[in-house]
Structures are given as C-alpha cells and as structure tokens.
Symmetry: C2
Subunit: 196 residues, 2 copies
DNA sequence: GACTATACGGAACGATGGTTCCGTTTGTCA
DNA sequence: TGACAAACGGAACCATCGTTCCGTATAGTC
C-alpha cells in the first residue's frame, strides 16, 4: 500500500522488525481514519486505532502533516496510475469521462482524497508537488486524447477540468450532497462535451 | 444590513445606546472578517476589528457559532431576495443562468457564503433552517421557470443545481481555483442546458 | 543468557482559541 | 448631579490537540 522496506533517517540501518510492523499499522490506521473523518482527527485517535502510543507514531513521522503527506502521495500516485492505464485503450471519450466518474466515486469513499485534488498544492510541502504535477500531466493527456477524438470541446483547459472535479469531490464530501454526486458528474460531463 | 432595533433577551427593555452601537460594530466586523478569512478566525480578531473587548462580543452573542448564524441568515436572505427579484422579469433562461453566475461571483468575494450553501443545513441550529428553505424555494422557482421556457433540461432536480453551485463556490474559495470560477460556471451552465 | 542499540508508551508540556468572571465605566432617568 | 442598572474590557480559565521527553521494554547479536 504505502512504503516498502524502510531504513532509519540518520543511520542507514534497516528498521527493527517491530518498528516496521508498527510503521505499517500507523499508515493503515491513518489512511482509514483520514478517509473516514478528514484531516482534523486528533493524532491520538490514529495512534489508538493503530494499537500504538503517540510517541511511536511520532518516532516514524516527525509531524502529523508529514504523515498525511505520505498517504497523500500514495493516493495521488494511485490516481495517476489509473489515468495512465486509461490512456490509449479504446474510446478516448469514454476513457476520459469514465475517469472523472471514478474520481468522484473515490472521493465519496475517501474523504481525504479531496485534499489531494484541492488543498494539496496550496498548503503542503515539496514532497507532494512532483507527484501532483505528474497526476496533472496524466489527466491532461487523457483530456487531450478525448479532445482529439472530438468527444470533449477543444476550448477547456486542464486546470478547469481539475478544478471542476475538485469542486465536485469537495461537494461529495458532504453527506447531504454525496447523494447528488452521480447527477453532478453527469451534468459536468455534458458541459464538457462538444456542443452540437 | 443585519438586525434593526433590538431588545435584551430576558427583560423586554430596549438596548442602551452604546450597546446597540457595539452590536452593530461587531456584526459588521464579523461580516468582513468571516468573508475574508473564513469561519476559523479567532474571536479576538473580530472583537479587535470591531474596536471592542471579547466580553462585549459575548454579551451580544452567546457563542461564536450564534454570531456566525446571524450573519448567515442575513446572507441567505440576501440571496433569496436576489433570486426572487429575477423571477418573472424577462428571459427566464437568462435570469436563471445569470443568478448562478452571481452566486459564484459573490462566493469569490465572501468566503463565508460557501457555508450558506454547503455547511449550513448540516451543522447549524434551527435558526438557519427556515431561511435556507426559503432560499431553496426561490431557486427552485427560478429553475422551474427556466425549464418551462425550454432553457434548462427538464430532468435536473433543484437539489442537484444547488449542489453544483455549492461545489463551484467551494472551489472558488481556494485562491488557485478562483481564477477558474468563470470557466467552471460556464461549463456547468452548458451542462444544464437542453441537449440538442 | 546477557548486553546494547532501538523502539515503545503515555504522561506532561505548550500553544491556541472559545468562554467566563468581575472590577470598572457609562448611559439613563429622576 | 447623583444613583443605579446596564454594559464594557480583558485577564483568567479551561478544553483541545500537536509535540516532546524519558523511563521501560524488547529485537538483534555474540
């Protein structure tokens, strides 16, 4: 899911077995809790869910923000891969619109995803910037292909698409709007189609 | 703007002159500060901007949330009036789409407006529910007129429109997305138009 | 099995921010 | 102008939450 075999920051030595296990637990707990509750959950909650003391959590991640960043990077990478997988397979229009639907569907399940699309660039450190840019490129490629295929109007910028989807995801975060998410995506997609 | 001549909660006596003046100042300051910074500003900031101690602020509003509610109600009422004014004057389609543009334009300037459209119903007390419902009715009327005029597709529900605009406003709150807000509205509006 | 570096847990700390309390000030009315 | 209720200011209070510290436990190694 996130991270492979890690080594301590200072010394290049491999992690002790229990340390590695706890690191994984923390990441998994944080992923679940952030997804369910959003960024504002206290770290204690994450630590408890991981069956670990807060001290242990902080041994692995210097700050709550860094912990979130680790998950964020994983999430964005995941999205990037989905976008790339959809490129050059079959109908470009269907691939593009299907991708948008996928994104919003994910956002309903994983509330922290919204941050990946919206907040990330503004508030976080250098670690997320590169992966976010990669995602942007992948989405832009998907968009361009759909435009070349004549499925999407030529005058929309990638940023606008990202913003629209970010907006829809943010709305999908609210329980009362989540029920509308499918309908919202449909309308946005219709707006993106070439006008005849 | 907000509130007329008020009386104290317990005794029915009219407010003292300085009290009334301070109440107004607090409301104006809070309106400005919430609009500029969002809901998370410390109350001290509001009090300072109003040229008043925090104690005074709490004399007039039992809690920060109630203060926000007062402003929220005013904002929603404002929107409702705009929606009503647009009803039955000229082209129903133009009235509807113009209204959507107006909303998003406002949201860029008044960041707390987003709450009026998104958060309000979920988190706040009984005071906002009725005015929010009124706004919903006004928007629904505007929508129906546009649909009857053949300008908007018949299969969209008022809730979906509200959610879409709420989403766009939420995005408009982010500085980096705000520049896209016009383009976003245009696409959403195109998606709402009847497909030919 | 003993030794040591590594890791653990969770109490304690400090910052932030909403709310309360109370001594002082001020408007109002006679 | 004097008296009193009403209102004011802001220090102090308390809860929350991120982060640190240190005494204890344990994995890895000889």
């Amino acid at each position: 899911m996130v991270g492979g075999d890690e080594v301590t920051e200072e010394t290049g030595r491999p992690l002790r077995a229990d340390a590695l296990r706890n690191r994984t637990r923390v990441l998994e707990a944080a992923e679940a809790v952030f997804a369910a509750e959003g960024l504002s959950v206290p770290v204690d909650v994450i630590a408890e869910k991981a069956g670990v003391g807060v001290g242990t959590l902080y041994r692995h991640f210097p700050t709550k923000e860094k912990l979130f960043e680790a998950i964020l990077v994983a999430r964005i990478t995941e999205i990037t891969e989905v976008a790339r997988a959809r490129l050059n397979v079959g109908d470009a229009g269907a691939a593009f619109f299907g991708f948008l639907e996928y994104l919003v569907g994910e956002a309903v399940l994983k509330r922290d995803l919204i941050m990946a699309l919206a907040d990330a660039g503004v508030e976080f450190e250098v670690a997320v910037a590169p992966v976010k840019e990669e995602m942007g490129d992948a989405v832009a490629a998907l968009l361009r292909a759909a435009q070349d295929a004549g499925a999407v109007r030529a005058d929309v910028e990638p940023e606008v698409v990202m913003s629209l989807i970010g907006a829809t995801c943010m709305a999908a975060e609210r329980p009362d709007m989540a029920v509308c998410s499918q309908a919202m995506v449909r309308i946005v997609c219709d707006g993106l189609k070439v006008s005849r």
